[in-house]
Amino acid sequence: MANIDELRRIVKEIVDREDVKYVIGYEKGTYGFRVSPSFAFTPEDVEKFIFSPLCVHNLAVYPHLEEKLPLKRNEKEDTRKIGIIVKGCDSRAVAQIIQEKGLDREDVVLIGVPCTGVIDLKKINARCPHLMYGEVREENGNFIITAEGDTHRIPKEELLCDVCTQCENPNPILYDVLIGEEVESKKEDYQKVKTLEKKSLEEKWKYWEKKFDRCIRCYACRNGCPLCYCEECMVDNLSPQWVRRSVTISENTAWNIMRAYHLAGRCVGCGQCERACPMDIPLMELNKKLEKDVKELFDYQAGTEEEPVLAVFSPDDPEEFVL
């Protein structure tokens, strides 16, 4: 984990730069183990920045959320850069967006932080419920939780987000400045996907039906995703209406599967959609299946290569699926 004093010092320097508008990082949240995204416009704002295993958000979502209103007469566009604190997966998201020409490399200043995995809030809340405020640090493979006077020591793997337990890119792959030592990467074995793949069609449907049935179509998955940045999302289009507004099992299924397909070869596996989902739908299981397919078919991993998978062709590409 990055040293917080060093992080604040470096971020302050960046915020102070004339070509930087603001830097996005993390601050203490308002209750429990919550951490909140934080925007620093001045060096003083940086004082509240923190970095801990509770900093779960992929902040790469924010450049596209910036609202650009029509310019007034004689008003010039603010083209200053946005600084973003990025972990491994977050940096892959930025890299992927840049490949897709959704962002220019010059638009952002990336403050890279090697990541040893973030905590799944559902898991920690189940272990330490009803706390007004808690902090977490990492020590020798354990998370040390200090909350309301008590200290708990819990083995890391019991609290880590599922996607972090097998993260292949914990170190930022794209950055302007790197804070802290690089960490060792793990190996993804797709065990969960393989188990699901072995099920029959009926079993798979039974599995997903229960989950899509409770989808409320709040689109927190989409809005939280750094790679969901279409100017107009297909579900917002009323003419034609690709997916009906009715919240029924068939429309919910259409939405969730279409979104997963749209992210094939693009999803960086940060798990933000699943974390944002208020209805506990395991969306990463869909995304991981497509990630595995793309890896097997094209030996490709989103956000780590030169060009998007759908923009390149190799004569060796498998074509079994072409009839």
């Binding site: 949240g29 308002t30 209750y31 429990g32 919550r34 951490v35 909140s36 995204p37 934080s38 925007f39 958000h57 979502v61 924010y62 959320l65 609202e67 209103l69 419920p129 009803h130 706390l131 007004m132 229960k210 989950k211 049935d213 409770r214 409320i216 179509r217 709040c218 689109y219 927190a220 989409r222 809005n223 939280g224 917002d236 009323l238 209406q241 009906r244 507004r245 009715s246 919240v247 029924t248 933000q272 974390r275 944002a276 208020p278 209805m279 506990d280």
Partner: protein, 339 residues
């Protein structure tokens, strides 16, 4: 008011009998996510939960509601669905019950909304809160974990028994002919209930400062405060769909060839499309405008119109927000904000 005691193991008998007369909608555990669902047998329901993920408004003001269906062959026919179903809404928390009193102002106007009929035909069986969640703050907005103010029957889990209060005629009618299941409540039972109520009140950790909230907001519409809060907002609808008093909707036709339906679906003021006009102009172009509107609607416009805050303190919006936009914090810090 009749105050009775039913042993927990007999509660399924009560539901079983009610099922003969009513459609019973109750909390059902769907892989750890508790939601209101229609039940066919008592064994499907659970009363061991903090609160349902989606509020009870979803039963009376459904996320997807067919207003009428239409078809065209030689001539056009329109069918309006008949709604005479008698519903027993079981296990509703005091905050959700209070939210229906808030929603009544919206839907009970001159035009007959499907909500009104449903409301008339629904009996509310409330369930007192023994253990408020971390983000619960109903006591700050006129509620209480044991409040039975807005229900027809109130249930309180007092250990091996449920304490039952049948408060309205509607409620008493449900329990008609079930007297063999109950015994009258003793002083000891009432004492136990009071003790649990005190414990629940003490467990309420968070407080929203709603003193003069209407006036406080009155002077800060143009404050940069809203822009700061909006910076981190993702613009999803989780807060509004999880809110028991949010009631925005959209109506549209969903048709295929010669038949279709006019449906009403929940909409969210957090979406830019919500206010975008046909010309392309949007009076609430930024997330800042939309967040501010949501807060003002609940804590300024609604109290001014109906003398009631349109927030019941369930804390769901706080818990579901992916980026920790916290309504308690937003309201409490309005005191420090520059106008």
């Amino acid at each position: 008011m009749e105050e009775m005691i039913i042993r927990k193991e007999k509660f399924h008998d009560l539901v079983e009998r009610a099922l003969k007369e009513y459609t019973v909608v109750a909390p059902v555990d769907n892989e750890g996510v508790v939601l209101f669902r229609r039940i066919a047998t008592p064994s499907e329901l659970t009363l061991e939960f903090s609160n349902t993920k989606i509020p009870a408004k979803s039963i009376l003001f459904q996320q997807t509601e067919t207003l009428f269906t239409f078809s065209q062959r030689e001539s056009v026919t329109i069918d309006v669905p008949e709604d005479s179903e008698k519903v027993l809404l079981l296990g509703i928390r005091p905050c959700d019950a209070q939210s229906l009193a808030v929603l009544d102002h919206v839907f009970a106007g001159e035009l007959e909304d499907p909500y009104v009929k449903k409301r008339e035909n629904t009996v509310l069986i409330g369930l007192s809160c023994l253990a408020p969640e971390i983000n619960c703050f109903c006591t700050s907005v006129g509620g209480s974990p044991f409040s039975a103010e807005y229900t027809d029957i109130q249930l309180t889990d007092i250990g091996e028994n449920y304490y039952i209060e049948a408060k309205t005629d509607k409620g008493k009618k449900v329990l008609d002919g079930m007297s063999d299941l109950f015994r009258p409540a003793t002083e000891e039972d009432t004492e136990k209930k009071k003790e649990l109520e005190k414990k629940a009140l003490d467990a309420m950790k968070r407080r929203m400062d709603t003193d003069d909230i209407v006036d406080r907001l009155e002077n800060m519409f143009e404050s940069s405060y809203w822009r700061k809060i909006a910076l981190k907002c993702l613009g999803c609808a989780a807060c509004t769909y999880a809110c028991p008093t949010c009631h925005c909707f959209d109506m549209l036709d969903e048709s295929a060839v010669a038949r279709g339906a006019r449906v009403r679906v929940w909409d969210s003021c957090m979406y830019p499309e919500y206010t975008r006009q046909a010309s392309g102009y949007n009076p609430r172009p930024e997330r800042m405008n939309r967040i501010r509107n949501r807060v003002y609607h609940k804590f300024n416009y609604y109290p001014k119109n109906w003398d009631i805050i349109a927030c019941v303190g369930c804390g769901r919006c706080i818990s579901v927000c992916p980026v920790n936009i916290d309504i308690i914090d937003v309201i409490n810090r309005t005191c420090e904000a520059e106008p």
